[in-house]
């Protein structure tokens, strides 16, 4: 009992302590929205939004302002909402802080009946009260035998469900209060979905009246075109102004307007920061950013809200800025009162940049060289060196190939290699990204000859092409809209099938991608033939190919997705978190954590001619990228504003190669230059040797038998049918090829050569994943979806066990002994630290390690243990 009341007391006290009552301060001016009120039906109302400007800074004073209608026979104020009473004209006086604004009010049509509209009100309420959500009656099979369309996307389903289905059990027109659809959500009878309706809510009034008026389910032709939100852009909430009223105006296709503030559905992306009530009043709770979303039927809008709370002791220290990246990051940090961390040291930078750009750790030699370099521009030089390396091209290509499902299982007979090689060369030559996208999206032809056509070979269906293209190039997860309008965005089914129409004529004929002259995408419910997305009517008249038109739309400088999505991917690659996160889930209800930064980067990307390396260089050289992962007293709680570097587990490929580098078992790629010609020479020598032996072999018994066998094969028959002069030459060439192919030595040599050329020994450099148990354990994707989320980032118990007890780690440590044993103890420790951690060991680390090595009777065993120990440090396993 006692604790119960203590709890309440706390609740009451909390209200006082927050001091959330905004005192009437004196603004320079007030701005009243709307500036004129038109009420054109008996039940019409208008939600006012009043903004006070305090030294130029806008704050919401809607709740504190007073509202007085001159003629109460025409309209009345209910709080900050103006409601129709009778026809005529009057004025509304809005006053706050000594300022006053007069708003003309015009009221019409109040004598006409104003019945509840099923299409525009009842359905909106079912969404607002949560009935039509995906986890309740909006799920595909409904709940408890009662099913509604998700967020009311299909009124024809809802009308039957509510009135006829279940033997008319849900509505009771003669006695509305007896309706099951009211009694259940009121909890007058048990309802698994809980309390969803209160009698004092507008929702109850609307539903009760709709039932009373005879459950009319007419569906007029008019549609809601869009909703308009006030305030139009984001707001900063800071004490004492911790509230913000939203007004929502719906625009209909017949040109009419209606305030839907009371029946719209509100939601927040981060309820710890700000919440919003059922009347659209936002309340701030703690420092941070949140998106407040507003849904009315199929229309959806969001506004970002920033809540600023003064942090005791915070003082902005004007940290150095390298370029505009830092300036824009700092703006946000300063506003929300975080301090960026210090710049990281050289070894952290070297390790971080190498892993980000090439996926590989630098060798001990490279580390030593960089750490002892005293030039002031060494970081910039390193950035350029790595950007121009083959390792960079291959590792970047791997990331693209992950998304485009480049795997031998999908792209057979070497096509995975062909496509991969194209991706590597595009990264190597820094192909402008718009050209890159166009080359892929407009590809056609034989997939063995046209590498980019494999994009379509990997995903044969129109639907998958739609979803994958939207996800990769538009950062949009559009799958939901295949069956219903998007629950959290303005994307509709029509949009989905318009994008699908782009690929409706792209056909797979065997392994060749061809363009058919017919083929359409149809809306599954209306059967409307969709016009391809991105195509202008002029392009349509000129019969421009659909994909070409789409690619043109996509890569035009003012496209809202293309540049943003790619710079966000680059940012996320380097920073461990996108400015929009998840990186392929761009929508207004998931806003960027720093919109000006994303905009500026996208602008820079466009201006540079879609130069990826330029953006990579820009970010990598910023103080933001180079900041330490160690938080300070004023940024520990920041997770999205980039005040400090994010500590990340190495990816599966990075880890596998890092183990190779640390154990010195994986030769550095620079050695390939030496080893490749050597193997090539061996191949040539062996080929020459066999070729010289060929004439003799041909006349041997074995050779004769082989000829006889070959003559019986279809190919043999075909060749023997040729004219004699051609026949002999071709026959010989074919037999020689077969002779060479059957030689084991030559085959092994060629395989070795290919392994080196394709860099098959490097997980970060291969054209397609090896898919070992080790890499799978560490989250390597199988390349089955276009989502970066297919790669598992969160550490698992299995990973810890694999590193501590697994066969791979053990074998590597064991084999690595031979690479270290020859060093004396002092040197051994230094080499190991440089190889694994890119730094020199500290004095203490040196003495502990030396002590360990000398005290053991079995030195090899001790060396192995030391290697294993370093491999299992967090410093090794994580990028920091």
């Amino acid at each position: 009992m006692c604790s119960l009341y203590r709890g309440c007391l706390a609740v009451l006290l909390m209200g006082c302590m927050l001091g959330i009552r905004a005192e009437a301060q004196v603004p320079n001016r007030i701005e009243v929205h709307p500036s004129a009120i038109q009420l054109d039906s008996r039940r019409a109302y208008r939600q006012m939004v009043v903004t006070g400007y305090f030294g130029g800074v806008p704050h919401d004073v809607t709740a504190q302002a007073t509202y007085k209608v001159a003629d109460s026979k025409m309209a009345k104020a209910s709080g900050s909402r103006i409601e129709a009473v009778g026809e005529g004209q009057t004025t509304l006086a809005v006053r706050y802080g000594g300022k006053s604004v007069q708003v003309p009010v015009c009221v019409t049509h109040t004598s006409k009946p104003d019945p509840i509209s099923f299409k525009f009100e009842t359905r909106a309420i079912l969404t607002k009260q949560g009935c039509a959500t995906g986890s309740c009656h909006g799920s595909p099979h409904g709940k408890g035998g009662f099913s509604l369309s998700l967020f009311g996307y299909d009124p024809t389903i809802d009308r039957v469900s509510l009135t006829h289905d279940g033997y008319n059990r849900r509505v009771n027109v003669l006695d509305p209060a007896e309706s099951l659809m009211l009694k259940k959500p009121l909890l007058e009878i048990p309802h698994v979905g809980g309390k969803r309706l209160r009698k004092n809510e507008v929702a109850y009034q609307i539903l009760t009246n709709w039932i009373y008026q005879g459950v009319n389910t007419d569906l007029p032709k008019v549609e809601c075109d869009r909703i308009q939100i006030t305030p139009a852009s984001g707001r900063v909430l800071k004490a004492p102004f911790l509230r913000q009223q939203i007004g929502v105006l719906a625009h209909f296709t017949d040109g009419s307007l209606r305030d839907v503030s009371r029946i719209a559905t509100y939601d927040t992306s981060n309820s710890a920061v700000a919440t919003v009530d059922s009347d659209g009043l936002i309340s701030a709770h703690s420092r941070g950013q949140a998106a407040i979303s507003v849904r009315y039927l199929d229309s959806f809008e969001s506004i970002p809200v920033t809540v600023v709370v003064d942090v005791p002791g915070f003082h902005w220290n004007n940290p150095p800025e390298t370029n505009f990246v830092d300036r824009l990051v700092d703006n946000k940090l300063q506003q929300l009162q975080y301090l960026p961390s210090e710049r990281c040291n050289d070894s952290v930078f070297l390790r971080r940049l190498s892993l980000d750009f090439t996926g590989l750790l630098p060798t001990a030699e490279q580390s030593r060289h960089f750490l002892t370099d005293t030039a002031s521009d060494k970081r910039l030089r390193l950035i350029d060196t790595l950007l121009n390396s083959e390792e960079f091209a291959r590792f970047q290509a791997l990331k693209k190939a992950d998304l485009m499902r480049v795997s031998p299982a999908r792209l057979k007979e070497g096509r995975a290699g062909v496509f991969s090689e194209w991706l590597v060369s595009a990264m190597r030559t820094n192909m402008p990204y718009d050209r890159f996208a166009r080359a892929i999206l407009t590809a056609e032809g034989d997939t063995e000859r046209v590498p980019t056509a494999n994009y379509f070979l990997a995903i044969p269906s129109m639907e998958e092409r739609t979803e994958m293209t939207a996800q990769i190039f538009m950062g949009t997860r559009i799958e939901c809209t295949k069956c219903h309008n998007h629950p959290f965005e303005n994307w509709t089914m029509r949009d989905y099938y318009r994008i699908a129409a782009v690929f409706a004529r792209t056909k797979n004929e065997g392994e060749t991608i061809t363009l058919a002259s017919t083929g359409e995408a149809q809306h599954p419910t209306t059967h409307e033939v969709m016009t391809p997305w991105g195509m202008t009517s002029q392009q349509q008249q000129n019969h421009v190919e659909r994909r070409t038109a789409f690619a043109e739309w996509l890569t035009s400088p003012d496209n809202p997705y293309f540049a943003r999505v790619e710079v966000n991917r680059i940012w996320a690659d380097l920073m461990g978190r996108g400015i929009v996160e998840p990186i392929d889930d761009f929508r207004s209800s998931n806003p960027p954590s720093n919109a000006p930064l994303l905009d500026a980067l996208a602008q820079e990307f466009v201006k540079s001619g879609y130069n990826r390396k330029h953006i990579l260089r820009l970010i990598a050289s910023s103080r933001t990228y180079q900041s330490s992962s160690m938080p300070n007293a004023f940024n520990g709680s920041d997770e999205s504003l980039f005040s400090h570097a994010k500590v990340r587990l190495l990816t599966a490929e990075q880890l596998q190669d890092a183990l190779g580098t640390a154990t010195r078992l994986l030769p550095p790629p620079s050695e390939l230059e030496v080893r490749l010609p050597d193997v090539q020479k061996q191949v040539d020598v062996r080929t020459a040797e066999l070729t010289s032996r060929f004439p003799t072999w041909l006349t041997s018994k074995e050779g004769a038998e082989a000829q006889k066998q070959f003559a019986l094969t279809p190919k043999g028959k075909e060749l023997l049918a040729l004219p004699p002069d051609k026949c002999e030459e071709r026959l010989k060439a074919t037999l020689l090829r077969r002779y060479l192919e059957q030689d084991n030595d030559l085959r092994n040599l060629k395989q070795r050569l290919e392994t080196l050329q394709q860099r098959m020994d490097y997980a970060t450099q291969r054209p397609y994943p090896q898919g070992t148990e080790f890499t799978t354990t560490f989250g390597q994707p199988k390349r089955e979806t276009a989502c970066t989320c297919e790669r598992q980032h969160s550490p698992t118990l299995l990973q810890a066990l694999e590193m501590l007890n697994g066969g791979t780690a053990f074998r590597l440590a064991q084999e690595s002994v031979s690479r270290y044993a020859a060093f004396d103890n002092e040197r051994l420790v230094e080499e190991l630290y440089l190889s694994a951690l890119c730094r020199f060991p500290t004095e203490r680390e040196k003495s502990v390690s030396r002590g360990f090595l000398t005290s053991s009777s079995d030195r090899n065993r001790a060396v192995m243990d030391l290697i294993w120990t370093v491999m299992n440090t967090q410093e090794f396993l994580f990028q920091h």
Binding site: M1, C2, L4, Y5, R6, G7, C8, V11, P113, D114, P115, G145, T163, H164, G166, Y167, N168, R169, R170, N172, V173, L174, E178, L180, K183, K184, L187, E188, I189, P190, H191, V192, G194, K195, R198, K199, Q205, T208, N209, Y212, Q213, G214
Partner: protein
């Protein structure tokens, strides 16, 4: 804190006039409030705070707090009572809802002070069942809006027709369409109406959706409810006589099927084997079996004497083969003196099958795949409706089907050919009855219309709105009723 609270409680209680002096009855006074205001969160399906009140036994048990919520004799120590009357909205029950009225709170206080006694028969029985038989209100004088017709029946002489209404059944003259008489104080919704073999009484079934079902007997001449066979926790959707008129069967939205002796009122058996609503029940033509159709896509057959499951007919839920399809079943009927059944609902067919053969074909789980693929003996009658069939009737070698298309169709049971199609407006047809004495069929629609046809000529006999009403349209909106 405690003292403060007690003072507050005293204030509350003092302000309520202590009018009724008789002891508070748990069943009469407390249980209805618990059910309406508390069971949503603390009921059979939900137990917030680990506390449930759906039976008296549970009500008296402690929730997650470990302390009993009710301390007999002491409202002050009973958390349940304290949580009802606290002024602090954050902890008041019902949570995020209007508070109980002070009169209701006072009932709780007195009941607890008087020892929190139980005056029912079984402390483990669901409270819902304790409430017993409802006394129904009078029907509204006129219907402001159409009430969907879910049941209708010709009088034995075929001259009048009795139609299910709102808290009543209305009797109409078939020749004129004039309202003859109203049988009032019946369940809110009437889902089944049937005359007893002697024509003197009526089997009436229905209820209030989601909370109450009733099977009762009504004297046709006086219109009085003379017997209530049973009450159910949800509406009864179907009820029917056995061929000899000695038993009745009922089933509904609680998923149960129950059989009673018509005269004694004794419940002979009940069964709950369906996974969803029971939509239609009947006896077989020979009277030895009972059939129940369900939204769970099956028809179950039971031994009429014992209620033991005879077999399950799965023809409406076939994964494979020519007649693959999954659809709820809304109607099942037998041909007279025969094991031949007709069933329909969603899907494209009325299915005609033999109860005994269906049992033979319904094997065990081991041969399920094979059975699914194999075509059964069932005859599939493609009805040609675009929407569901809600009612079937079999009479004199003819099967009638009423659909949500607003069309009634007549088929020959032997040839399975369509004999006739009767257009019945735009609205869904739910109710259907064929007179065994005159060649007439009647259907009732969602919009409250009755249409009567001659089954031999196909001529329309009459069509009228079977609604006590003065105006043909729903009354226009009046703000007073808000």
């Amino acid at each position: 804190m405690n003292r403060l609270l007690s003072t507050f409680v005293l204030l509350i209680t003092a302000s309520v006039p202590l009018s009724a002096r008789a002891e508070v009855s748990f069943v009469r006074d407390i249980a209805p409030i618990l059910l309406k205001r508390c069971a949503g969160c603390h009921g059979e399906k939900a137990n917030l705070g680990g506390y449930r009140i759906h039976t008296f036994q549970y009500l008296m048990k402690a929730g997650a707090s470990g302390r009993a919520e009710i301390v007999p004799g002491s409202p002050e120590k009973s958390t349940l009572y304290q949580r009802i009357v606290t002024p602090v909205e954050a902890i008041r029950m019902p949570k995020s809802d209007d508070a109980l009225s002070s009169a209701q709170a006072q009932l709780f206080r007195r009941w607890i002070a008087e020892g929190a006694k139980f005056d029912g028969s079984d402390t483990t029985a669901p409270l819902k069942g304790l409430l017993g038989v409802r006394r129904h209100p009078l029907a509204p004088p006129v219907y402001r809006a159409p009430v969907p017709i879910m049941a209708l029946t010709f009088t034995p002489d075929g001259q009048q027709i009795l139609v299910g209404g709102y808290n009543e059944a209305t009797l109409w003259n078939v020749a004129t369409g004039v309202l003859v008489r109203r049988l009032e104080r019946l369940p809110q919704r009437i889902q089944a109406l049937a005359f007893s073999p002697n024509g003197k009484s009526l089997l009436v079934a229905g209820g209030t959706p989601g909370e109450y079902g009733e099977v009762s007997r009504v004297d046709f001449s006086t219109g009085e409810r003379t017997k209530v066979y049973d009450t159910l926790p949800d509406i009864v959707l179907s009820a029917a006589f056995s061929p000899n008129g000695q038993q009745i069967v009922a089933g509904g939205a609680d998923g149960s099927v129950r059989v009673y002796d018509w005269e004694s009122g004794k419940r002979l058996w009940s069964s709950k084997v369906h996974a969803d609503w029971v939509t239609s029940v009947c006896f077989s033509g020979e009277g030895n079996l009972v059939a129940s159709a369900s939204k769970d896509m099956t028809v179950k057959l039971y031994e009429a004497k014992t209620g033991s499951l005879y077999t399950t007919y799965n023809g409406h839920n076939r994964q494979l083969g020519r007649y693959a399809g999954q659809a709820p079943v809304y109607a099942v009927q037998f041909a007279a003196e025969s094991p031949l059944a007709f069933s329909a609902g969603g899907g494209r067919w009325i299915q005609s099958w033999d109860a005994n053969l269906a049992k033979n074909e319904s094997g065990d789980a081991a041969d399920m795949e094979e059975r699914f693929a194999r075509e059964s003996h069932t005859q599939y009658l493609e009805h040609g409706f675009a929407h569901e069939v809600f009612a079937l009737a079999v009479q004199d070698g003819q099967v009638f089907a009423a659909s949500a298309d607003g069309i009634l169709k007549q088929f020959d049971t032997k040839t399975l050919r369509e004999v006739r199609s009767y257009p019945c407006g735009e609205e869904w047809l739910f109710a259907l009855h064929v007179s065994p004495t005159v060649h007439r069929v009647a259907v009732g629609s969602y919009s409250g219309e009755v249409r009567v046809w001659d089954t031999q000529t196909g001529q329309s006999v009459i069509a009228f709105r079977a609604q006590p009403s003065t105006s043909p349209k729903p009354a226009s909106y009046s703000p007073k009723t808000r």
